[in-house]
Symmetry: C2
Subunit: 220 residues, 2 copies
């Protein structure tokens, strides 16, 4: 099966969670620019990219794509209970990602950062003081260091990478108290195919048009 | 199977999406106050309520609970493609719900509305002008009037109910242009078991501690 990942070019964004799973599994896939006409299907349309074409299937919503891919790529448990648990973790990561995005866009995703900078400062303050520790604490308790790696582990790696880019000083402090999260990040980064991908030109660097952004003024 | 729905008392919140599915199917369930000690499981903990106990399973994240319940309650298609599509719709409804919540809490869910009223006005303006029409347009095109009812249809009903409560004048205008959405809402409301539930004391009224809130100043 050759998968087609339809997404915006030039950013990691939500597409990166799908890329990490495909790359880790050594799956065959191509990227299609979702902003080009003809990319969007009439059947089962998506509210927003990414979406995946897999044979006749068109699947939208990042967590849903991973729900589909997980068992096929060897990145999900075999039991229903296990799959529901991994999906639950993934949906919580999606919530975390939305909150991380909203630190720089608390008013509207269609407005520039500069138009909502004052609000972004307040939202970031709340995120760093309350939400970030809560999410880190949750995943630190919910995941076990020796667990078999699933797509949720790959996604946790990506969220940690992004948060290190966006809020480097806060993360440095907080990660010390969240050893399991740091250990999962390290294990994922060391997976051979993933390490190769991360060092390759295919891995888009973090940038200021992306979900994770580094504005020093948002990290006091 | 007698299900246990663990959630905060006194609000519809995200628990309501699960309640609607259980009520529509006439399933046996009890509610457990998730703020009471002993409610939260050590195994497969949730970041936040609601979570469902189903025999030995504990399932968190609203959309994940519905993914599990859907086929068991006759509220999901039989094919994998169909189930992925309904789940995709549900995840998009979850995104919509988060944005509706953030109209009155754009800075922090731990702060009072009064502490973020200025920002709430700006965020609501953007939501009403851009996001609400986009979501309505999407569901109006994605759903078909005659489709078999699934848990996503029940959830769409609930989102429309909530938005009518929060932004009555805007919804009145916008619904005229989104006939399929209005038709799905009507069909769901007319389902016998659901109509009975909605008229019963078990249906918690909309209120100002909930996800959907009516602040007239947010709807100019």
């Amino acid at each position: 099966m050759r998968y087609e990942l339809h997404y915006w070019p030039g950013i990691q964004g939500r597409g990166e969670y799908v890329r990490l799973a495909l790359e880790d599994a050594g799956a065959e896939y191509i990227e299609v620019d979702s902003s080009k006409s003809g990319s969007e299907p009439d059947f089962h349309p998506s509210f927003a990219p990414p979406y995946l074409k897999a044979g006749k299937l068109v699947i939208g919503q990042t967590a849903n794509i991973l729900l589909y891919l997980g068992p096929r790529l060897g990145l999900a448990p075999k039991t229903e209970a296990g799959r529901l648990w991994v999906h639950q973790l993934q949906l919580t990561l999606a919530d975390w990602l939305t909150e991380a995005h909203d630190t720089h866009h608390p008013i509207g995703s269609g407005l520039y950062y500069e138009e909502q900078k004052r609000e972004a400062k307040r939202r970031s303050q709340d995120f760093l003081a309350n939400r970030l520790p809560k999410f880190l604490g949750y995943f630190n308790a919910a995941m076990k260091p020796g667990d078999k790696i699933t797509y949720a582990h790959l996604s946790l790696f990506q969220v940690i990478e992004g948060l290190r880019y966006a809020f480097p000083r806060t993360m440095k402090k907080l990660e010390r108290r969240h050893g399991t999260v740091a250990a999962v990040h390290k294990r994922v980064a060391a997976r051979p195919r993933l390490a190769q991908y991360l060092a390759s030109g295919r891995r888009i660097p973090f940038n200021q048009d992306d979900v994770f952004r580094h504005y020093p003024e948002l990290e006091p």
